[in-house]
Symmetry: C2
Subunit: 482 residues, 2 copies
């Protein structure tokens, strides 16, 4: 974003503007901001912790003027190295965690104005008192600023869409020499009075500007849910089932999650408290977790959602092509734990190589089949332990290496990553980052796969915003292997 | 977009590239492309009717190189003078109507790739065969390109969102000297691999680029609907009712439309075939049309949607603050005609001044009350005949003048328009264009109310795209009163 600082001295101006208590300098105190959840660890020059938009503007302007590169960070729960500093020791971290006081709920407008440093769980706790929720539902507990910067999707995308679909307004600080504040923050659902500039700050990792406040759409809190785990006839039947359920249930269908047999096996081995729902404990090759939800519980004499789901699946079962071989019913609190245990389960099964891919929906299974075959031939030490939100075309394509020595060889990871991404993007027109954004981990693929015209556009747009970059706009700031 | 042509001669290169049959030159043949639905009438240099994206690119490049300004047009059903040429006779019209052949439905992905010249009704007819629909539901029958250029919302925004929320991809021709084609057209629901550039071509009237093909999200076709007309206790009760229905019905609530007594009176007078649903024919001050919908009809033994709606409204009625004074039930085909007759009804009641406004939801009624009072004092010849999609904060604030002589005085319309827009934007933080975009009619308000930083950004972004504008980017190309 800026050229590296030649000195890590903290400008006097910065200390004066933010207050000494808003700067963390000693190396021993910086660790929490320097370490990401996937173990990426950098070395920061210092940490800035402004408490409001004005403080962020002052910090940004000061850094730009003094040539100090900086990395915006909110909850630091990202998975692509987008919120941690690199190893140079030259980058400052701009933490948004103290921007957590603003939380203005507008019940009539079904919206909330919230600071970038508010945790998702905190926000939902406040909203619950009004019978509302922010519907982007994640396993992690990020802060809102990071959710906007990565445009996360989550497990209920199918029903509610991503962060973009639920953002009404943003307050943004531009990384220019003035710390210009853009107020794109009206709480309107409809407004077509010019370009919707806020869109360019969603999912772009803070490269164009730092989001300090958001106006979000919120939704009535679901009061009843019903779930089932389905075993499809085969991979192709997955989308027959999805179509049948969407047709019958419409927007009551709130989740349609895919779980591979390998991922389930590792989850059940790692988390013995999670119940194995399958008859005789026999884990199938693939399974689906489906959920339906509604905002009001069934009234007297009305069918419960569990009954609706059972009846719907019975009708689907009887279809001529028999897409289902088994359906296991149970309340959400019994069935979701298996889905939620997958991520930790595969992490503990061996060396993990994780990919966050998306495709046109039917291509998820085609990619999966082709890639599994390819890997079995050329990379037999890898086990495909994938799962994901296939209802929206997303899949967390995870590979676990059973030969730790081999997969630590120099170059192994890079060749593997390049191979998987190449198949996803070139052969299946997929996305190399469905919902984790770019960060350091994906900057390489942005550079490689983004058409020249669009990279040029990003640079020119960065220049139009006054970014004093000495070159190309970088969403991840550097290659992971730099 | 470009400087006016000094000659209306048609470049030989253009005729050669598009074919002579794709150019309409004689004045007598041009009328359909020169006249808008609100009576705006211009004078075109000539009409270009390319048949595909390459043709559009050739037409655009040729016009830019020859300095011929042009106006993109698809269905020409817009309401703000965005798709008709001005009176200069210098502007060409770039009609997209022949781009109506591409219509590739992907049932598994619930998406469709469609040309900009496809009519909404044609698209829905094709989709219906697959049990699908494009959910942005309008009274008019525009072409898809214009729907993207204006980011229309419509009557079921509450459930499905606007065109933006349903656009997965776009093919865009840049108005540069090369006619550069940007392929932003992957059919992915999730993709966070850089800025989502397509957003800047949605709702910007073709100023940044001409949309030639779209990949759209489509939805399962609703198979059952139920409707009621509600008479709220007073204006404040409108949002009590909306909250109560959203909480109880969630996303089954598909429309929540506001109708003023004046608008209903004019509609019933103008369209005698429309049934007056009110007891004794007494039209209330305000009424609401609510609709619920689901994709599968009620099964045996299940409550019908009409029963669900009756039961829900009975529960709402019993609330302590008694928000409802009447509820009239009837099937959609009996109740929607009144709502659909409002627009024509007010048009025939006198000289019409129409405003397409949006607010944070509860402000709709506050604005309405304040503005009605203000108009009664200073503009007694005007009658407020408003209606709209208040479930998403939008209102078609229509004023009918009963003193035709007075309202035709010089300057009357401009002062009135400026007054209404000023109150909406300055006093109520509203939008002067909820879903009709900018066009010539609103360029004046874009110029006046857009912060300098954002106007500069638009100009710089236009330059970044290679637009050879000799000055500011204009979404409406000129003032209506120029």
């Amino acid at each position: 974003m800026t050229t590296p600082a030649t000195s890590t001295d903290i400008p006097h101006e910065l200390v004066e503007r933010l207050g000494a208590d808003a700067i963390v300098a000693p190396a021993a105190d910086r660790s929490a901001w320097e370490t990401g959840v996937r173990g990426d660890r950098g070395d920061a020059a210092f940490i800035m912790r402004p408490k409001d938009t004005d403080g962020v503007a002052a910090a940004v302007a000061c850094c730009v003027r003094h040539g100090i590169p900086f990395v915006p960070q909110s909850g630091n729960t990202g998975l692509v190295g987008g919120s941690t500093p690199d190893a140079s020791g030259a980058q400052a971290v701009l933490s948004l965690e103290r921007l957590n006081r603003v939380c203005e709920i507008d019940v009539d407008n079904r919206s909330v104005r919230v600071g970038a440093g508010m945790r998702l769980s905190q926000l939902n706790a406040r909203l619950e008192a009004e019978g509302l929720c922010f519907p982007v539902d994640l396993g992690a507990d990020p802060m809102i600023g990071g959710m906007v910067a990565t445009n996360t999707g989550g497990a209920r995308f199918l029903r509610y869409g991503d962060v973009r679909a639920n953002t009404l307004g943003l307050t943004v600080v531009l990384p220019d020499g003035e710390g210009t504040v853009l107020g794109l923050d009206r709480a309107l659902r409809k407004d077509n009075t010019g370009p919707d500039w806020k869109q360019l700050f969603i999912g772009t990792s803070g490269a164009f500007g730092i989001v300090t406040e958001c106006v979000l759409n919120v939704e009535p809190l679901p009061r009843e849910r019903a779930t089932a785990i389905l075993v499809p006839r085969d991979e192709a039947a997955t989308f027959e089932l999805l179509r049948a359920l969407e047709t019958r249930l419409g927007s009551d269908l709130s989740a349609f999650e895919f779980m591979s047999g390998n991922a389930m096996r590792h989850a059940l081995a790692h988390a013995p408290s999670v119940r194995n729902p399958f008859a005789g404990g026999d884990i199938p090759q693939i399974a689906l977790l489906v959920e339906i939800a509604r905002t009001a519980p069934a009234g007297e004499g009305e069918a419960t959602l569990a009954e609706v789901l059972e009846r719907t699946l019975a009708a689907v079962w009887e279809q001529a092509d028999e897409p289902l071989t088994d359906a296991l019913f149970g309340p959400p609190e019994e069935l979701w734990p298996l889905r939620h245990a997958l991520s930790e389960g595969v992490k503990h099964a061996g060396r993990l190589f994780a990919f966050d891919l998306a495709f046109a929906r039917a291509d998820v299974m085609r990619f999966r089949a082709a890639m599994t075959q390819h890997l079995a031939a050329d990379w037999p030490e890898l086990e495909v332990c994938d799962f994901g939100h296939v209802g929206d075309g997303g899949i967390h394509f995870n590979l676990v290496c059973r030969d730790r020595e081999r997969c630590q060889r120099s170059g192994y990871e890079q060749v593997l990553r390049d191979t998987v991404v190449r198949h996803a993007v070139e052969d299946f027109h997929g996305s190399f980052s469905a919902e984790h954004a770019i960060g350091r981990a994906n900057q390489r693929y942005y550079d490689h796969y983004t058409p020249h015209a669009l990279k040029t556009l990003a640079d020119r747009f960065g220049a139009a915003l006054g970014l004093q970059a000495s070159g190309a706009v970088r969403f991840g700031h550097e290659h992971e292997d730099d």
